[in-house]
Every structure is written in C-alpha cells, then in structure tokens.
Amino acid sequence: MNFIINSPLEQFTTRVYFGLSSGLINLDTITLTSFSIYSIAVVALILGFSILNDNNTNILPTRWSLAFESLYFTVEKMVSEQIGGLEGRLLFPFMFSLFMYILIANVVSLVPYSYAINAQLIWTIGLSVAIWIGCTLTGLANHGAKFFGLFLPSGTNLPLVPVLVIIELLSYIARALSLGLRLGSNILAGHLLLVILAGLILNFISISIFTFALGILPLSILLGIVALESAIAFIQAIVFTILTCSYIKDAIHLH
C-alpha cells in the first residue's frame, strides 16, 4: 500500500482489503473494503456504547448513561413532534438507527487518517432515494389516488393551479436527491477542506525553524475548523433525521 498521499482526494478512495474471485461468477460484492470495515466499526461502536451504558440495575444515572439517554430523547422529541401517534412509535426504531448511524459515522471520520463513510455520495444518495421511494409507496398505499393532493396547497386560485402543481411535483422529486446530497456534500467538502489546509500548513512548517515556531497560528485556525466540522457532523445527523420524519409525516398525514 502506498503511504505517501498525492492529492487531497485520495482520502476518499475505497480500498479493497479482502476479496474473493471466481472464474465462473462475478463475486465483486463479497469483498471487504474500507467502507465495510468502517461500517462494521460504526455498528460495533453503537452496540458497545448501548450495551455498556444501559445501567439498568442502578437508580442513579452514570455520565455515560445520561449521554446515551440525551441522544435517545433527541430522536424521540423529533419523532413525536413530527409524526405523532401510533405511526411515530412504530417508526421510532428506524429513526433512532438512522440518527445513530449517521452521527457515529460522521464522528468516527473526524479521527485523523480515517475514512468518511458519509462522503460517499453513492451511499448517501442511495439511502435518501430509498427513503423517498418508501415515503411515496407509503403515501400511495395509505391514501390511494388522493396522495396527489399533496401537490396542491389548499386555497390557490384556479389559473395558478397547473403551474403550482408542476413546481410542487418537481420539488417533491428533488427531495430524493437533496436529502442525500446535503449530507454527502457537507461531509465531503469539510474533509476536503481539512486535508487541503493541513497539506498547506505542512508545506509552510517545513521551510525553516522560524516558520515551524510560527506555525502555531495556522494550526489553531485548523483546530477551529475541526471544531466546526464536529458541529457539522452532529447537525447533519439531526437534519437528515428531522427531514426524514417530515417527509414521512407528509406521506402519512397529507399536510
């Protein structure tokens, strides 16, 4: 493996670590890549975090169980405010899994020399298109042909109706793309910025001993950007989950 990094985009390359090959059939999907290793690490972290901190025998909470409960209540408040009632309780495990996966994957990718799962646009846009198809099918199954009433806000004048329906339809279709593209492009742009700045600072520091001492200033700016990136990691998980809840609410309750 090559340990010298040539371009800032190389941090997003997916390397194959273990693969099977056969002359008869195409076994490209049974490979262990960096994406799958980091996915397994994220799930292991979530499971470990949950199992080690459940604290179900004590009355007083520990700090870890308080942190885990605050994550739980973040998602529960989102779900109960957006989709209330029975469907909200039934969909809560899905929302919680989605939120925890995106949050822990984003936070794991902030470790230096790590790999960002959510920067792979195939993954994020694929997930959001799957969620969008699920919402559309749910709406069509629950309401039949009345589902298309979603595209006509009540109380519009009659001449405006064709234009408004076309615009609402386009906006609805764009939801599929924008939900995943928002998450993917935020993480991609953030990590790209960090690696580019770090490369420039390395060039600056390696000139002389004077610039090495002076390099504390650009490094503190980089620290500020890392803090911004960790806030973005948390915010993007919340925004993805809250928008998914909002789209499901549109499908179930039709405004």
């Binding site: 593209l181 928002r182 492009s185 935020n186 742009a189 993007q236 919340i238 925004v239």
Partner: protein, 76 residues
C-alpha cells in the same frame, strides 16, 4: 486538451460563486434568530433549534453549487 483543462478550471471557479447565496442565507437566518431572541428571550431554546435547522438547509443549497464545481473538476 489544454483547452478542456482550462475550461474545467474556469467552470469550477464560476460554479463556486454560488456559495455567495449560502453565506447570505445563513446570515439572514441568524439575523432572524437575534431579532427573535431580543423580542422574546424566553423562546431562546426553541428558536435556536429552528435556526440550526435553517442553517443546515441553507448551507446545503450552497454546497449543491460546490458539488457542481467538484463534478466539473474531477468527473468531467
């Protein structure tokens, strides 16, 4: 070939102008937050939650333009 490369760089630079909208939009969201909290300081928590949601949505639109720039640079 060099013309295609020059076109790529110019296109990527032009597409990044779309981030101006993101900057202004985020500033508008937080200006509304400051106005709202100054009128009714008791709603600080709820308004802050809405402002973070608005910030993420507004930044997403700017990053769509940045994605077009990356598309032009690295995916032809």
């Amino acid at each position: 070939m060099q013309l295609v490369l020059a076109g790529k760089y110019i296109g990527a630079g032009l597409a990044s102008i779309g981030l101006v909208g993101a900057g202004i939009g985020i500033a508008i969201v937080f200006a509304a937050l400051i106005n709202g909290v100054s009128r009714n300081p008791a709603l600080k928590g709820q308004l802050f939650t809405y402002s973070i949601l608005g910030f993420a949505l507004s930044e997403a639109t700017g990053l769509f333009a940045l994605m077009i720039a990356f598309l032009l640079l690295y995916a032809v």
